[in-house]
């Protein structure tokens, strides 16, 4: 039963190395986003942003990390302790797990699941618990309201995200993300599936509750929403979890609609990084340029506009695929 050959061991070692490398790359780029976002916001608001620590202020990340590690990690006495501690870990876990199926280049990628997209959707739907449980276990009105808003927002937008991906799945004939990238060799999905791309991106913003859909943590109404009672590294995990979400949605948009690693001259990884980087910057621009909608506006927009468009898109794509076959 345990008769491993040298090849299996080598394979195992290589996969382990690849997994750890991807994990580190993803977490480091998410941490760097703390600095990238503040500098970019500075550019768009006609000011400098953090530029003191290290070249261009890039060591600001290290300074922030050191600060957050040494802050007092306080659990309120009225909180449900076990749930309070688990909640921030869930968002980190589910987001990092979703990266497991993302194909970065022809060869790099942890695993090719034949249910790749469904796995991503499953992980993102489990991520809801992080925010809901954080809001509930804090035993604080603002936190609870934030948690409730998130529950409704994320469940709703998950529906549109799933529906928008159906068109892509129909065109590729597979849930496997690597097959989906390879199916875009002739034409990127963004052209035949433009409505799906817009819906996916909007739903992605709502799923990771970034501005302008950051109602669960709207500071004017809810203090800090679900993470009001969090401090120290537990708050840091929510913070980095949000940036991980940005990286994940950017990578998925690249894979699903913009041909992943495909591109002329430059090596695949460079193309992937360029495309994903573009969407990451777009996330920051959205935060700099948009205002937060009201809660009922957010829900009405989803169910009355996004849902019909997504359904029509699925119907038309299905008809075209059947007609071409």
């Amino acid at each position: 039963m345990f008769g491993f050959s040298t090849d299996t061991l080598l394979d195992f070692a290589f996969t382990a190395f690849e997994t750890i490398a991807i994990l580190l790359a993803v977490v480091i780029s998410a941490a760097l986003l703390i600095w990238v976002e503040r500098r970019l916001l500075g550019v768009w608001q006609d000011r400098y942003g953090p530029n003191r620590v290290g070249p261009f202020g890039i060591l600001q990340v290290a300074a922030d990390m050191i600060k957050i590690f040494f802050k007092e990690d306080w659990i309120p006495p009225f909180a449900d302790k076990a749930v309070f501690v688990i909640a921030p870990a869930i968002i980190m876990f589910t987001t990092l797990m979703a990266f497991a199926v993302v194909p970065f280049t022809e060869t790099i990628g942890v695993v090719d699941l034949n249910i790749g997209i469904l796995f991503v959707l499953a992980m993102s739907s489990l991520g809801v618990y992080s925010v809901i449980l954080a809001g509930w276990s804090s035993d604080n009105k603002y936190a609870l309201l934030g948690g409730m808003r998130t529950a409704a927002q994320m469940i709703s937008y998950e529906v549109f995200m799933g529906l928008s991906l159906l068109g892509v799945v129909l065109l590729a004939g597979s849930f496997d993300l690597r097959t989906i990238v390879e199916s875009q060799a002739g034409m990127w999905n963004v052209i035949p599936q433009f409505p799906a791309f817009v819906i996916f991106f909007i739903a992605g913003i709502a799923e990771i509750h970034r501005a302008p859909f950051d109602l669960p943590e709207a500071e004017q109404e809810l203090t800090a929403g679900y993470h009001t009672e969090y401090s120290g590294m537990k708050f840091g995990m929510f913070f980095v979890g949000e940036y991980l979400g940005i990286v994940l949605i950017s990578c998925l948009t690249t894979v699903l609609f913009f041909g992943g690693w495909l591109g002329p001259i430059l090596p695949g990884f460079v193309w992937f990084a360029l495309k994903a980087g573009f969407f990451i910057c777009f996330f920051v621009l959205l935060r700099a340029a948009t205002v937060r909608p009201r809660y009922d506006q957010l829900m009405a927009f989803g169910w009355k506009i996004l849902l019909p468009i997504a359904l029509v898109n699925v119907a038309i794509t299905g008809a075209v695929v059947v007609a071409m076959a």
Binding site: V83, N114, L121, A122, Y129, G147, M148
Partner: protein, 185 residues
């Protein structure tokens, strides 16, 4: 994969037992989520990855969220936990325990007699075949289920409608009309 199957199955049984015996409703729900996730792994090891993914997305990721949502609003505290605990006295377990043992006995006999149920290593059942079966021979049942769901949705929308909103809108519209006498009436 056999070891993964048994591990997941053990987790599922243990977590489900905690769902029943836990006095704190939210903790019980969290155990139920763990149970559903381990059932998803059981599906996966049985060669049904599509069913496994749907189990996580639909049950663990959407339906249970609504349960947590509702329980969150109930403002549970130490008092309710104590009351729940008093309801879970040992004598309450006798009836369900006997019924459960009977079911377990039936299952054990079925497995021991080598029925088709005990087969861990079956052929993979992929999304395409599930779709073919559902929308082929069983399409009528799918349509009927859709009717029932639609009816439920309409009823829920009707019950949840707030008549005050409509009255308020009319009042606001009337007030606007007065302010702009030249405007469209």
């Amino acid at each position: 994969m056999e070891i993964a199957f048994y591990l997941a199955a053990i987790v599922a049984v243990a977590a489900t037992a905690r769902v029943i015996s836990c006095a704190n409703a939210v903790h019980a729900l969290l155990y139920l989520i763990v149970s559903l996730l381990s059932v998803a792994i059981v599906f996966y090891t049985l060669g049904a990855p599509f069913a496994a993914a749907l189990e996580v997305i639909v049950y663990a990721g959407a339906i249970m969220v609504l349960f947590v949502f509702v329980i969150m609003m109930l403002n549970l505290n130490q008092e309710t936990v104590a009351r729940e605990r008093s309801w879970l006295a040992p004598r309450v377990w006798i009836g369900p325990g006997v019924l459960g043992v009977v079911l377990l006995g039936v299952l054990a006999v079925a497995l021991a007699s080598g029925g088709s149920m005990g087969n861990v290593d079956s052929t993979p059942l992929m999304a395409e075949r599930i779709g073919m079966t559902m929308f082929g021979p069983y399409v009528l049942i799918v349509e009927l289920a859709a009717f029932v769901l639609l009816a439920a949705l309409v009823v829920a929308a009707h019950l949840g409608r707030d008549d005050r909103d409509v009255a308020e809108e009319k009042r606001v519209a009337a007030a606007r009309g007065r302010r702009h006498p030249g405007g469209e009436q």
